[in-house]
Structure formats: C-alpha cells, structure tokens
C-alpha cells in the first residue's frame, strides 16, 4: 500500500533529498521546507521505497501537501 509523506508546515521546498527508487527508513529526512527563514526537516514516518517525488525546489506547499509517495 502506498503512503505519502506530507508537509508539516507551509513554505517553499528548499531541498528534496531522495530520488525515485530510493529506500528510506523511518525518521529519515526526505524534504527540507523553508518557512519563517528557517529550514524545517520533513521526516518519513515509515520505511519504504520512493515511488514518486511530487515536488521540486522552490515549489510552494501548504500544510498537509503530499511531497513523496512511498511504496
């Protein structure tokens, strides 16, 4: 079953740290969001393989926006 890693704050995507096909582990930082001039790490809540990367640098995201799809 696919799960998504979602933005926990609004802001701009500063960096995407994974690529499609990468294996990620629970607690791993997958995306960094820039908000309030702070870099905020978005971590994966689960282990999984990256099926889709839905965002790129400079994209603006809202809280809850899906960023990464994990298999």
């Amino acid at each position: 079953m696919a799960t998504t890693v979602n933005a926990h704050m609004p802001g701009l995507v500063a960096r995407v740290l994974v690529n499609e096909g990468d294996q990620v582990t629970q607690g791993q930082t997958v995306v960094v969001i820039n908000c309030m001039k702070n870099e905020l790490q978005v971590v994966s809540a689960n282990d999984g393989k990256v099926q889709n990367v839905l965002v790129k640098e400079w994209d603006e995201v809202e809280i809850g926006s899906p960023l990464i799809v994990l298999e």
Binding site: P10, G11, L12, N34, C35, M36, N38, L40, E60, I63
Partner: protein
C-alpha cells in the same frame, strides 16, 4: 516546572508589551506577536495581563507538567490535548504533575497559540522584560527558542487553583480570526506625493497582499508592488532604488517598509532604523492580527484610518481585557 519533550517549530517565552525604552539603542520591543491572545491567556488564569506566556508558532509542542497548576491556551485552534484527551481552547483548565500537554499544528484560521500558566513563567527579567528577542538572542529562556529537555520554571501558582479553573470568555469577546486580515493603518511618513504616487498608495490600501513564506517575528513580507508605485526615479543621496532614503528611525513596531519592491511589515523583533521608506504605520490595536497571519496562506489588507480612530480602537480593546469579559 514544565519540561519540554518536543519544542515544535518555534516555541518562545514572550510577555507584553515587551522591552520598552531601548529602540534608540537598536533593540526592538520583542513581546507577543499576537498580544491580544497573550493577554487573554493571562486573564483566563488570573495573571497580570502582560505576564510571560509560551508563544507557539506553527505548533507540535509537547511538554510535561512538573507541578499541579492551571493553564489556558488561546490563539489559533491548535487541537490541544492533555494525556491524549482533547481540552478546549480559550478556557482555563486544571493540570496535574505528570500530565502531558500535546499540541497539533495551527488551525484553519491563525498561526500562533499562547499558553498561559497560573503564576506565569519564571525566567529572569532582562532590561525589564521576560520576552525573547529571537534575532538578538537575548531575553526569555536563554535568548532562544525552546528545545527538547529544557525545564521551564513556573511562577508560584495561587493557593486556590480551583477558583481559576473553568474560566472562559463571554460570547462576542473572543477575537474573530480570518484568512484576510484587515489592518487599520495611518499613511506615511513616506507617502504621496513625494515618495509614492497616489496610484501606489491606492494600491496599498485596496489590495489584499499575500503573506510570503519567509515572514517571521522580525517582519511580515508581502507580495511585490506593481509598476507605477514610486513617485521618484531613484533614491537620490539615499541610494539607487527609489525605495532608498537616508537612514531614519522606523516607527516600531508596525511600520510598513518598502524594501526594494517588497512591502515588509516590521513586527516585534524587527529593525529600529534603516534606509527604506515607510509608507504607513499599522495602529497598535490591530498589531495582534499580524501574529496570526499564516505564511504562504493568508492575506493582509490595509484600511486607512485616522489618529483619532486609532486611539479609540486602543481604548475599546482595553475595555474587553478585564474580568468582566469572563463567563
């Protein structure tokens, strides 16, 4: 005491009205970004209105109480829970030693929440205030935002906690939260015709301006102005861009800097002087709304106002911050 298990995005000790009297030395006031929610949080737990609270921007704070006390949570609806059970916002509630307070993220409206503790927060006064100036790294708790493992000393709570629990606000007292925040403002000191065209001023006072993602306690950055805004080709001796002027003092907090083509509303931790024009000043009674403006989501609309209206608004706000507002 209150033990920080997860500090969340940005949790700070802030009081009100902050650190007064040092603008001339380059020190901004700091203090609660939403001073109204902060003062209501104190009112609900029986504190002096300006006592220090925790200001939670964004959310995700988790902490453990080391004492029995009474707390209140105001501001954005941040879905607070004690030991996993939801607790209401804008109402004081009793907590016991060992209880775990957990906050979710900011709600549909607003961005910051305030936690008031009966007896307040026991951090040292620095130059007359308990407020954290985040960008100056002074005041509050070691001059910084809270981090995991911090132990926050609380002030001595009153003997009779029972009399403080269950206090709420009467209908119609709670501030109304929006996605488009209307801020009353007085034009100037750098306005039309010398600095900005009439068309430019009309633009500032007629458009909802989106809050940029980079907005924080120093300043709220708004979407860029349009062409035809400036009345001058350049800043003369102040600089090459028409937004440049010779350095001057800013009316802090609440001045709207025009920084290049970006309107920047200067707030609690902002600069006290600089070389950008200031097109308007937000009235003190409406400054609380900026603290609830959500980056990358909400809008600000400036509404022209007179000095007399500004003074009246401040008086009216003062009237609701009394025990008469409690239910």
């Amino acid at each position: 005491m209150f033990i920080i298990k997860n500090p969340g995005i940005e949790t700070l000790v802030e009081d009100w009205p902050g650190r007064l009297g040092y603008l001339g030395k380059g020190m901004s006031t700091a203090g609660g970004m939403d001073n109204l929610a902060l003062r209501f949080a104190n009112l609900l737990v029986g504190n002096p209105l300006g006592e220090a609270c925790l200001e939670v921007a964004g959310g995700y704070l988790e902490g453990e109480f080391g004492v029995d006390t009474v707390i209140s949570i105001t501001g954005t609806d941040i879905s607070p829970s004690i030991n996993g059970q939801p607790v209401p916002m804008w109402k004081s509630c009793r907590v016991q030693k060992g209880d775990i307070l957990k906050l979710s993220h900011f709600g549909e409206y607003g961005f910051r929440a305030y936690i008031g503790f009966a007896g307040g927060i026991d951090v040292p006064l620095y130059l007359g205030s308990k407020s954290t100036c985040l960008f100056g790294s002074y005041g509050g708790f070691d001059g910084r935002k809270l981090k995991q493992g911090d132990v926050l000393a609380l002030g001595g709570a009153p003997q009779n906690l029972t009399s403080l629990e269950g206090r709420g606000l009467k209908d119609g007292v709670m501030p109304v939260y929006e996605r488009e925040w209307h801020l009353r403002a007085i034009p100037g000191p750098n306005a039309s015709p010398e600095y900005i065209t009439e068309k430019g001023m009309d633009y500032l006072f007629s458009q909802p301006l989106r809050i940029q993602h980079s907005s924080n306690r120093s300043a709220y950055r708004l979407e860029e102005i349009k062409s035809g805004f400036f009345a001058r080709e350049d800043g003369g001796v102040g600089g090459s861009h028409p937004s440049n002027i010779v350095d001057h003092a800013y009316a802090m907090p609440g001045a709207l800097n025009i920084c290049g083509n970006t309107p920047v509303l200067l707030t609690a931790d902002g600069p006290t002087l600089g070389g950008y024009m200031c097109a308007l000043s937000v009235i003190k009674a409406d400054m609380w709304k900026i603290g609830q403006g959500t980056p990358s989501r909400d809008y600000i609309r400036f509404v022209s106002c007179t000095r007399e209206e500004a003074l009246q608004a401040r008086l009216e706000q003062k009237k609701i911050l009394t025990e008469d507002s409690l239910s």
